[in-house]
């Protein structure tokens, strides 16, 4: 059996470890993906910790051209004339700060939380009211200023019992009285019919699916976690990570993959593209979530060195000595990780070797340039 097949079989095994209730079904033609939920351990404390949040934000590599791109689903039916202003340097910096804030708002990650439990409590039983009416009465409290989650929603059923409503009805009634734009009362067919959903996945419309799922469902719903997990797995299988970069969904996706210990393809992609620093960040993320790596100290020190530096959107032309030193340390860190914890060892090692050669070339070029310019 080839090394590739061995690796693929191992990843299937990895998925199964965390889905004890799901059965494996893999057909020869299409690989059907198995959804997984955050139902054992609550990922929320780890997700919301500041360390993990900064790592995820850095991994998304926000590119403002993509974050602020023209979208078709906004409230503007028609384009508007651009506005021009004369700004001094300080004012420009202030504007850029505001732009960063709005970018943060646009890149706000939908959280990874534990699946919610169904609630049911009976408030009163009145068998004397049997026969009053054949339909249930649903009472919603439309007081101004209450959160949708804390709203009092009760129902009086025809047999006289007064009980608070379950999650589905609560969501429906909240949507009726306080509609959220984009959320539909009836579940969209994209999510209910697997054919339509799969066709979207085949067309690689990951961002569209995730945006719609984010609007339609709450993050602690079972259906939402099912949809997102299938999307992330499909994306991981085809290694289309670039489609989600600079969007709000890259963070939760990276968190999901790290949670299920299947970051190998992402690691491979990072090394192949030469972004070793992000590979180190990914290793640090793995460490933060699972805390089972060997080289944690080196990792953390490197991360503290990487984070202050600006994000590299494109490959730099000239490398400074600090950059070279940092990058060499990063490659060593990644190397140790590959050798100890990775499942796609051969591919990743090959990719790293390729990167080392390419990097050596870059180093030679930059050192040569410096010598030529006379800066020793």
């Amino acid at each position: 059996m080839s090394l590739l097949k061995f690796a693929r079989n191992n990843t299937k095994h990895v998925f199964n470890m965390h889905n004890d209730t799901q059965a494996i079904f893999i057909s020869s033609r299409k690989l059907s993906l198995v959804p997984s939920f955050y139902d054992q351990e609550n990922p929320a404390p780890k997700f919301f910790s500041s360390g993990v949040q900064t790592l995820l934000k850095r991994l998304t590599r926000p590119d403002f051209a993509k974050v602020f791109r023209k979208r078709a689903n906004t409230n503007y039916p028609v384009l508007k004339t651009p506005i021009y202003k004369f700004l001094t340097d300080e004012e420009l910096n202030v504007e850029r700060e505001n732009a960063n804030k709005s970018a943060d708002r646009l890149l706000q990650m939908p959280p990874a939380v534990k699946v919610n439990e169904p609630t049911n409590d009976v408030l009163s039983k009145d068998p004397a009211l049997v026969g009053y009416d054949n339909s249930t009465y649903m009472f919603t409290d439309i007081t101004f200023g209450i959160d949708n989650a804390h709203r009092i929603i009760v129902q009086r059923s025809p047999d006289g019992t007064l009980q608070s409503c379950d999650y589905e009805t609560r969501k429906r009634l909240n949507q009726i009285y306080f509609p959220m734009q984009g959320r539909k009362l009836r579940e969209p067919k994209v999510f209910s019919e697997t054919e339509k959903f799969n066709s979207l996945l085949d067309r690689e419309q990951y961002e569209y699916i995730l945006d719609r799922a984010c609007v339609q469902y709450e993050p602690d719903e079972r259906k939402y976690q099912e949809l997102t997990s299938i999307t992330y797995q499909h994306l991981d299988m085809h290694s289309k990570f670039n489609l989600l970069r600079s969007t709000r969904h890259f963070g939760p996706m990276a968190f999901y993959l790290t949670w299920h210990k299947s970051i190998d393809r992402l690691m491979l992609e990072l090394i192949q593209n030469g972004t070793v620093r992000e590979a180190v960040l990914l290793v640090a993320l793995r460490q933060a979530i699972h805390a089972d790596l060997t080289n944690e100290d080196t990792c953390n020190t490197l991360v503290s060195q990487i984070l202050p530096r600006p994000i590299q959107q494109t490959k730099p032309d000239v490398l400074s000595e600090e950059d070279i030193a940092l990058d060499t340390k990063c490659t060593e860190c990644v190397d140790t990780y590959i050798n100890t914890n990775s499942t796609m060892k051969s591919q990743q090692a090959l990719a790293l070797q390729g990167f080392r050669e390419y990097y050596q070339q870059m180093v030679d070029i930059s050192r040569g340039l410096k010598k030529a310019h006379g800066n020793v």
């Binding site: 408030l123 009472f139 009760v154």
Partner: protein, 129 residues
């Protein structure tokens, strides 16, 4: 204002008698009620002080009748001495905010008796035929 808002003008005489009642909106053969607080002498077509909720008497696809109640404002107007008409009192009783209205018990009892009589009639009709 050309058309007074159905959600209420917010203007009232402080000493006037007020009541919380059902104001019929909707169209022919399709009633829909607003639960609002108005001055007692006003007609249903005249502007209300404030709308406190709604009641849809026609059951929807899931056989539910939807009632919305603004409990905070309801408490305020009850505090200001607004009367509550029997239909609204029944609804509030069903919701659990008020104790259950005796009329609800009465209608339930009457419906059960009517149902029982109807079943008996059917049985006798079946047995004879």
């Amino acid at each position: 204002m050309p058309v007074p808002p159905a959600s209420g003008t917010g203007r009232y005489y402080a000493l006037a008698a007020k009541s919380i009642r059902l104001i019929r909106q909707g169209c022919t053969n399709r009633p829909f009620f607003h639960i609002s607080v108005t001055q007692r002498k006003r007609l249903n077509s005249q502007p209300v002080i404030e709308q406190l909720g709604s009641y849809d008497p026609m059951p929807n696809m899931n056989n539910e009748k939807l009632v919305a109640l603004n409990l905070e404002r309801l408490k305020f107007w009850l505090g200001q001495g607004a009367h509550v008409t029997p239909p609204v009192a029944e609804l509030l009783g069903l919701s659990g905010f008020f104790p259950i209205h005796p009329r609800s018990y009465m209608t339930a009892w009457r419906n059960r008796r009517a149902e029982k009589e109807r079943l008996e009639k059917e049985e006798t009709a079946q047995s004879t035929s």
